[in-house]
Every structure is written in structure tokens, then in C-alpha cells.
């Protein structure tokens, strides 16, 4: 076996293979850095070029990309508070506060270093287990997989901030959003209300961007400044590495979690960062700094999300079923190359397997190095006036969201979720539990249903189920043990004088849950039971919260409104809603490219007060960038009424 390992290394490092790997790494870093685009988008971009390439070069290209997306996406998460891709959402919670207080360099170096270690750990696990993992993976039946989703949902406790009730309700809302669309068991259209777009469910990228990016962009705009309150990156490069080495146990455990989550088919690698984060908070003795810039909150998700790739490749190569979204596309690439994943691959083409592993390891190291190298340049964004940055961010986010299903619904959903996220942030409804619920919803429901169908109620007594249940209880107990955790966003609530706005929002929540109950009642048993249980309990919970806000003491953790304290010259929210509405209306009428051009020029003129020449230059280069992206990767823009009426020349189509 060792000679195969050595030969594979030589093969990877020879000739053009390295160049293809570097190309993959470059594309991976770019899609990682651009908010909203991630491994799935990157893989789809490269796939068309793979056909006809020699096998090792093609594998190097694809794996090079797969390996580094979760390294590059850290930039947006730490520097801008926007998920660079679905894999780095949890990094925002502590990474962004660190950047705001001038510790961006420390946070980034800790992130890249732990990313690299996580990636190497993943490669190591893949090396050791690919030969023996088959029985282990087969031991996880639908029942054990359901319990793993329960373990994930158990993390909500420590992600809820000061109010567990609100956290649970937020998670419930996520679960329900995750179950919108055709029911897995019966195909009935739940919670769709006749909107055809919703039949396929909401795309994760749209929910994540709406929930985290839109509120952050608007919030930063309102403050009229740059992202960083301190105008330097800080000089913490070495400190970040020292942090990583000191917290080696966190890095190791979270890499393990990343591998495990990645290796479980159908669990979705995108929950690994939250699981790792939650786990780290649970085990930490001093939880006081989480959410305010604790470096462990950066190390945990970053080591986990790079380890996912190694884990996710195990079922991909062994069974031909993908462990994550991007490995699903990698699988298609393998089939195009004429490689048939499965037992035979491991038995007959071990050289290819080790080619993949070596590429994964080497790409992780190179990716981390490149990220460090480009950091000073990228980090300068945080010192620019945000009014210049915002239109670019909005452009990329809208474009990225639209690539989810290339349907106008993507854009509308992005805005709707964005508004929801904005008010959740304002009124202290924690958003991380919503994402955790959203990501785990399909797995939780589907696996529960399958466990009952396959095993009857005896599934609860399976040894694997009992073990995972014990781990779940132990970790929740550990999370509660050292007092209420404080992963809070939005800062201090201040003295709340007017409780009516938050009461209104709580009642909106009641209405949402009540609507879900109303919609679900008419479906068949299999389609409605799980979501109905969630929705019905949530109506009661949301009513309780509304009651506390209305009658309860002002000191209650549930009473929360950031606006009460924010009187420091922030512009009203409505102004930015109008801007978003303007972009939307313009795009709806004349298509995205023309609409965006108008929006860019107007926004830079009014909000940034940009001189005419600079304005024109920025607008033209933004649109040119977008056009180039669309041309190279054969991506579409949202069409407007105009495009339906007259044939437009590219890129205005």
C-alpha cells in the first residue's frame, strides 16, 4: 500500500498535474472569497471543462477547488460579517467582532492555520479509513442518522443567546422553512401557498445570505463609516498561529466533528461549522466571550469546515453517494471521467484514491498560504467607506442568490428572508438556530420517517441510537452547566422604552406559525405530522413570548430592541429598504444588468457622494465584472419585462 501512496504523490507533483491543481485552488479561492458562491457553484463552473481531460489532471483540478473553498470563504465571514459560502457561517459570530475591534489579522491567521490543519486532518482520515470505512458507514442506519440530526439540533441551546425560548422558536422557524415544498414521503406541496417557486424548497444559499448578509449590509450602511472601527488590520499574524497551537484540542476535536458530519450521507456538510461551534461553546469553561470575539469561535468552525471534504469523500468514493453538496458534483465529474466510484474503485484503482488524498492535503496547504499572502490586500476593504463597498456586495449577493435556481423567486426570497433577518437581529431573536434548523430539517424528518418505516418503533432501542442519545444529553448538560451562555448578537439592548415594535414582531411570529398550522392541517398523515408538531408547539411558544413582552418585566431576557439604544446618528431602516426596492423594481423592468447599472450610479451618487468620474468608473467596472463572470461561466441574469418584449443584445439579455 505504501508504494501506491508514494507513487500517487509523485504523480500529483509531476508535470501539468500541479498546474491544474493550482488552477483549481485559484478558482476555489475566488468563489470562496465572493460572498454566496461556494463549492457547489465552483464545481459547476469547472465541470464542463473536465470532459476529455486526463484523469489525474481533472481530479487535481476538482479536488484543488473542493479543498480550499472553506479556506477562502473565511474572508467575507470575518471581514464583512457575510457568509463567504454556506460552510463558514459560524465563523461570523466571533470572527467579525474580532475584525471590528481591529484584530482582523489575528482572526484571519487563526482561521487559515486551523483551516489547513483541519484539511490535513481530513486527508489523514480519508487515507486511514477509506479501506475500512465501509462497515462503519453501513452501521449508521436511518435511525442513527436521525439521532445525529437530533444531536445537531441540541446545539441550539448554546446558540440561543440570552433567551432559550426565542432560540427554540427560531430553530422551529428554521425547521419549518426547511420543510417548505414537496413533502419527501408523499410529494404534497406543504407551506407553498400556491407559489410554484417554493415547491422545490428554499435554497440554502438564499436563506443564509438573506439571514446574515442583507441585515449586516444595511446595518453597516446605517452607521456611515467603514467596517473596522480601528483602521488597521492589526499585527496579530503570529498571535493567530499561537492561538491555534494553544487551542490544539479544540482544533483536533472540531476536525473530527467535521470529518464525521461530512462522512454521513444526507446530513449536509454545511451544518458542520455550527456543530463544531456549538460543541466548543458547550465544552468551554469560560463562555463569556463567545459571540464577542473569542478566538475559539473562529478556530472551531474553520478547522471543521475544511475537514468536511476529507470526510465527505469517504461515502462518495465508497458508495457513490455524496456526503455534501459539492461532492455531489464531484461525483458527476468522476462519472464523466469514466471513473466508477464504489467498492471496485477502492479495490482496483487505489492509486486514484491516493491521488485524490494527496491533492486534498497539498491544496489545503497552498490554499492557506495564498490566503495569508492576499490578506493585506483583501483586508483593506474593511477600511473603505462602506457606501462604496455596499453596492458591490449587493450586486454579488443578488447575482449569487439568483444562481441558486435561476428563478426570480430566488431574489424575492432573498429579500423576504433579509427583512426577516433584519428584524430578528433587531429584536433579539437569534439567527444561528434558524440556520441549524433549516439545514437539518430535511434530514430530521426524512430519517425519522424512514427509521419508523424500516424498523418500527424498535428503532429507539438500537445501540447506536442509545449511544448518540447519551452524547446528545451529555453535551447539552455540559452546555448548560457553566451558566447561561451569552452568544448574543446586536450588543446591549439598553433600556427599552417603547415595547410596541417588538411586540408587533412577536405577533408576526405567532401569525407565521399559525399560518403553518393552518396550511399543514389539510395534508395526509405522513406529510403533516412532523412539521405540524413543530408548528403547533411554536404557536404556543410565540404567544408566550408575546405575553412576556407585553406584560412581563422590562428586565426579562425576552424584552430586546437594539433600536432603543441606537440613537447615534443612524439613518432610518426605511431608507435602505427603498434602495433595495429600487434595485428590484429596476431589474424587474429592464433586467438585472441595466437595472444594476442605474442602481450603482444612483447609489454611489446619493449615498457615497462619489464624484461623477469615479462613479462612472466604478459602475462600468462593476458591470464589466458581472458580464465577464456571466460570459465565462455561462450564467444567466434575471430578466425584466423589457427582455420579454424585445430581443436585447448580450449582456443585457
Amino acid at each position: 500500500m505504501l508504494d501506491v501512496v508514494g507513487a500517487a504523490l509523485a504523480n500529483v507533483l509531476s508535470g501539468t498535474h500541479v498546474l491544474y491543481m493550482l488552477l483549481g485552488v485559484a478558482v476555489g479561492l475566488i468563489v470562496g472569497i465572493l460572498p454566496g458562491l461556494g463549492g457547489i457553484a465552483g464545481m459547476s463552473i469547472l465541470l464542463p471543462f473536465v470532459y476529455g481531460m486526463d484523469t489525474v489532471s481533472a481530479l487535481a483540478l476538482l479536488i484543488g477547488l473542493l479543498a480550499v473553498v472553506p479556506t477562502g470563504d473565511t474572508f467575507a465571514s470575518i471581514l464583512m460579517g457575510i457568509p463567504g459560502s454556506a460552510a463558514s457561517q459560524a465563523t461570523i459570530l466571533d470572527g467579525f467582532p474580532m475584525a471590528k475591534r481591529g484584530e482582523a489579522a489575528r482572526a484571519l491567521s487563526a482561521a487559515f492555520f486551523s483551516s489547513m490543519l483541519g484539511g490535513l486532518f481530513g486527508a489523514l482520515v480519508l487515507t486511514a479509513f477509506i479501506v475500512v470505512a465501509r462497515p462503519i458507514i453501513l452501521a449508521f442506519s436511518s435511525a442513527e442518522l436521525f439521532m445525529l440530526t437530533v444531536l445537531g439540533l441540541g446545539m441550539v441551546g448554546v446558540l440561543s443567546g440570552s433567551s432559550l425560548t426565542k432560540g427554540l422558536l427560531s430553530c422551529a422557524l428554521g425547521l419549518l422553512l426547511g420543510m417548505v415544498g414537496a413533502a419527501p414521503a408523499t410529494g404534497e406541496w406543504r407551506l407553498v401557498s400556491g407559489v410554484e417557486y417554493l415547491v422545490d424548497g428554499l435554497p440554502l444559499v438564499v436563506v443564509a445570505l438573506g439571514l446574515f448578509a442583507i441585515p449586516e449590509i444595511i446595518d453597516l450602511l446605517r452607521r456611515h463609516g467603514a467596517i473596522a472601527r480601528v483602521a488597521t488590520l492589526g499585527s496579530g499574524w503570529l498571535r493567530g498561529i499561537r492561538d491555534t497551537l494553544r487551542e490544539w484540542a479544540v482544533v483536533l476535536r472540531c476536525s473530527g466533528i467535521g470529518c464525521l458530519i461530512g462522512a454521513m450521507p444526507g446530513l449536509g456538510g454545511s451544518v458542520a461549522d455550527w456543530m463544531a461551534y456549538g460543541h466548543t461553546v458547550q465544552l468551554a469553561k469560560d463562555k463569556s466571550q463567545f459571540g464577542r470575539g473569542d478566538v475559539r469561535g473562529v478556530l472551531a468552525p474553520e478547522s471543521a469546515n475544511n475537514a468536511v471534504a476529507g470526510g465527505a469523500l469517504v461515502p462518495t468514493l465508497l458508495f457513490g453517494i455524496p456526503g455534501s453538496g459539492s461532492t455531489a458534483i464531484f461525483l458527476g465529474g468522476m462519472v464523466l471521467l469514466g471513473i466508477q466510484p464504489g467498492i471496485t474503485l477502492i479495490e482496483t484503482r487505489l492509486d486514484l484514491v491516493y491521488t485524490i488524498i494527496w491533492t486534498l492535503a497539498i491544496a489545503n496547504v497552498i490554499g492557506a498560504g495564498l490566503c495569508v499572502a492576499v490578506s493585506p490586500a483583501v483586508a483593506r476593504i474593511t477600511t473603505l467607506p462602506y457606501a462604496y463597498v455596499a453596492p458591490f456586495m449587493l450586486m454579488i449577493i443578488f447575482f449569487a442568490a439568483y444562481q441558486a435556481t435561476t428563478h426570480w423567486g430566488d431574489i424575492l426570497a432573498l429579500l423576504a428572508i433579509g427583512v426577516l433577518g433584519l428584524y430578528m437581529r433587531r429584536f433579539g431573536w437569534p439567527r444561528p438556530p434558524l440556520i441549524v434548523g433549516f439545514v437539518l430539517a430535511p434530514g430530521a424528518e426524512n430519517y425519522l420517517y424512514q427509521a419508523i418505516q424500516f424498523h418500527g418503533w424498535a428503532w429507539v432501542l438500537r445501540p447506536g441510537v442509545l449511544i448518540i442519545a447519551a452524547i446528545t444529553i451529555a453535551s447539552m448538560w455540559a452546555g448548560a452547566r457553566y451558566g447561561r451562555n451569552t452568544v448574543d448578537e446586536g450588543g446591549e439592548s439598553g433600556r427599552v422604552r417603547d415595547k410596541r415594535p417588538q411586540l408587533a414582531f412577536a405577533l408576526v411570529m405567532v401569525a407565521l406559525f399559525a399560518y403553518a398550522v393552518f396550511d399543514l392541517l389539510r395534508w395526509t398523515f405522513l406529510a403533516k405530522t412532523f412539521p405540524l408538531a413543530v408548528a403547533a408547539a411554536s404557536v404556543a411558544g410565540a404567544l408566550f413570548v408575546a405575553g412576556v413582552i407585553w406584560r412581563g418585566p422590562r428586565s426579562s431576557a425576552m424584552v430586546f430592541d437594539t433600536e432603543a439604544a441606537a440613537a447615534d446618528g443612524a439613518s432610518p431602516l426605511g431608507r435602505y429598504f427603498l434602495w433595495l426596492a429600487a434595485l428590484l423594481t429596476a431589474s424587474g423592468l429592464v433586467g438585472f444588468v441595466i437595472g444594476l447599472t442605474l442602481f450603482f450610479a444612483a447609489f454611489l451618487h446619493v449615498e457615497a457622494r462619489a464624484p461623477l468620474g469615479r462613479n462612472a468608473l466604478l459602475t462600468v467596472s462593476a458591470v464589466a465584472f458581472l458580464a465577464a463572470m456571466s460570459h465565462i461561466f455561462v450564467l444567466d441574469f434575471p430578466r425584466g419585462v423589457l427582455q420579454g418584449l424585445v430581443e436585447m443584445p448580450w449582456p443585457f439579455r
Partner: protein, 366 residues
């Protein structure tokens, strides 16, 4: 005088005709795509079976079409292929620069009158049809060695992982029912995860389409963890089922029925099964041109595709990708689609009624 003017007139007419001929597109088989880009719309996500199939064809099409146009695969996923197909029918211009690759999953909701379907497949022009097959296999612990032992399986409760009641996976459930097997489908499992559920021992009976079967189930058979029972079979020129050329050693469904029960299958249920197995497998992946495409463009595609399927490098690679099936081109593709899209109203009504009875599926009036 008269003669001269006639000559002059005819000369003028000939000249005009030549001039017109030079401007108008040339007749049959001479459409040229030089410097053009052809969009191959696939209403499925990247990397799925249909996507891989389309990407397999794309470079061969470039090579064979006159002028060597670039062929790009464009994925428009959603609604189990309904969204992208609707969009294609609505937007594609009949100029040969937009082609559509669908699958059985596009034909099934069409046949079942799904209200979301706004495409009339009979209006589109099929130029190629790729058939596929599938094999049903069971857990050896049930005691069956081949199709003759099917009666032994009767009365045994078997779980089966299925995508959903109205998906392509309805064909196997129908087949099991006709075979008299007590199979209980567990919904929500795509073919890959369904196979893994079988490997975990959660389900006892399963099927995979040809390429997945060769890749992942044949190794299981070798180590004694699966027993193949029968294939779906393929239709011959007379519309009769024959053995699948990819699995010449396996009986097809009707043959297996005869081995098990000593008589041929018959009745409305079997008629319904036949209609859906053709739509789902025998005519699984067609390439369509939009409605109203000029005949010369259609002819160009048919001639080019006929050339493609005869290319040695295509034949060599097709074995792995597409199975050992004859690719139907031109008239053969048209005939295959005609059979696939024609369903006896009685059989259709029976299937709908059966789906409602067994799985509580409600059909909205269109």
C-alpha cells in the same frame, strides 16, 4: 420576338431564383452552424444522470454538426425537470441553436397530467432517444436464487426504497404488485441512498438503472449480498419485450413472470405497466428540437447524430456511459417517443386510481 422575350424572361427568372437561393438557407441537410453556440438545455441539476448524459453527447455533437458549433450544456433544474422544460418550450427559438435533453422524469408527470406541466411533448421533435434499463435484485436471505423462485417470496413483507409514489420509481412498485409480491415502499430515497439502505439491510428488494447496477450492484452479487431477479427488458420493432442486451443472461419482466407462474402476464395493470416502463426506461432520454424547427435543420441533426452513433470512439465510450443499447436516431427516435407518449386512457385511469388507492395520491383536475 416572342421567343426572345420568353428567353429573356426565363433568364431573368433563373437569375432571380439563383439570387433568392443564395440568400435563403440552403435546402435539406445543408444547415451550417459555423461560429455558432448551441445551448443544450438540461432541466436537471449539474452532475445528475441526465447532465452527465448530455455532457457525454456535447463534444460528439460539436464534432458532427456542420461548422463545428460549440455545444454548451445549460442546467435549468427545478420541479423534477418540469420548470426547465416549461421554460424551454416557452423561450427556445426553432433555429437549431437550442436543444433540450429530458428524461423519464419529464415524461411521467406529463403522462399523469401534473398541473404544473405546460409543455406538449408531442409537439417537440425528437432526434435521438437513449434507452436504458434496470435490474431488480433481492436479499439472498429471502431464499430466492432466480426468477423461478419468485413464488417463494410471496407473503414475505419486503421494504423498498423509493423516491416517491408519482416518480419513475412507480414502475417497479407496479411490477412488484403484478408479481404478487408484498412490497412496502419507503418514500424519500433517491436511487443512490436507496441502494445504501439495501446494503444496510434496511430494505430487502431494490432496483438500479443499468449503469448504476453494473457499477454498484454487480460487486454485491459477487460477494453474495444480492440476487438479481429480472430486468425491465427492451422493446423490439414489433413492440414486444425482449431481453435487455446489457443483461442477456437475465429474463425480462414478462419472462420472469412466466418462469414463476407458468403463464404470460395480462390485464389492465400489466398494460399500464408496459406503457410506463416504455416512457420511463425504453425511451428514457430524448434529445428534442423545438416545435416548428425547419425540416432542413431537423435533417441536419438527424444526419449528424446518425454519424455520431457510428463513430468508433463513441461506441467505445458509450458502453460504459450508456450501456449496450441501440441509440434510436431520426424516425426510430420519433417512433420510440410516439410509443412512450401514447398511453391507453383506460390504463392511465387505472394507474391514477391505483396511486390514489394505495398511496392516497390526489390528482387535481387539469
Amino acid at each position: 420576338m416572342r421567343n426572345r422575350s420568353l428567353v429573356g424572361l426565363s433568364t431573368a427568372l433563373t437569375g432571380a431564383a439563383l439570387a433568392v437561393a443564395a440568400i435563403l438557407p440552403a435546402p435539406a441537410g445543408a444547415a451550417d452552424f459555423g461560429g455558432k453556440t448551441i445551448e443544450f438545455v438540461v432541466p436537471f441539476p449539474t452532475a445528475g444522470g441526465s447532465d452527465v448524459w448530455a455532457r457525454f453527447f456535447a463534444p460528439f455533437l460539436t464534432e458532427a454538426l456542420p461548422g463545428k458549433p460549440t455545444v454548451v450544456v445549460k442546467n435549468v433544474p427545478g420541479g423534477g425537470s418540469i420548470t426547465g422544460t416549461n421554460q424551454f418550450v416557452q423561450r427556445a427559438k426553432p433555429d437549431g441553436l437550442s436543444i433540450l435533453g429530458t428524461s423519464g422524469s419529464t415524461q411521467l408527470p406529463y403522462l399523469l397530467d401534473d398541473p404544473r406541466v405546460r409543455y406538449e411533448l408531442k409537439d417537440l421533435i425528437p432526434v435521438l432517444v437513449s434507452p436504458t434499463g434496470g435490474v431488480v435484485y433481492v436479499n439472498p436471505e429471502l431464499g430466492a436464487k432466480d426468477a423461478r423462485d419468485i413464488p417463494k417470496l410471496r407473503g414475505k413483507k419486503m421494504k423498498y426504497g423509493s423516491q416517491g409514489p408519482t416518480s419513475l420509481d412507480l414502475v417497479p412498485v407496479l411490477a412488484f404488485e403484478i408479481m404478487g409480491l408484498d412490497v412496502d415502499p419507503v418514500f424519500g430515497l433517491a436511487r443512490g441512498p436507496a441502494r445504501v439502505a439495501y446494503e444496510r439491510g434496511e430494505s430487502l428488494i431494490d432496483y438500479q438503472t443499468s449503469s448504476a447496477y453494473l457499477r454498484n450492484v454487480v460487486p454485491l452479487i459477487k460477494i453474495g449480498k444480492a440476487v438479481p431477479l429480472f430486468s425491465w427488458g427492451v422493446l423490439n420493432d414489433k413492440g414486444e419485450f425482449t431481453r435487455d442486451p446489457t443483461f442477456p443472461d437475465l429474463p425480462h419482466f414478462a419472462e420472469a413472470y412466466e418462469m414463476a407462474y407458468g403463464k404470460k402476464p395480462s390485464g389492465t395493470a400489466y398494460e399500464a405497466y408496459k406503457a410506463f416502463v416504455v416512457a420511463g426506461f425504453a425511451a428514457q432520454k430524448p434529445i428534442f428540437l423545438p416545435k416548428g424547427t425547419p425540416q432542413d435543420v431537423v435533417d441536419t441533426y438527424v444526419q449528424s447524430l446518425a454519424k455520431v452513433v457510428k463513430t468508433p470512439s463513441f461506441k467505445e465510450k458509450a458502453g460504459d456511459e450508456l450501456g449496450e443499447y441501440e441509440q434510436a436516431v431520426g424516425p426510430a427516435a420519433r417512433e420510440a417517443m410516439r410509443v412512450a407518449l401514447t398511453i391507453d386512457p383506460q390504463a392511465k385511469a387505472w394507474v391514477k386510481d391505483w396511486l390514489t388507492r394505495r398511496f392516497n395520491v390526489k390528482f387535481e383536475a387539469k
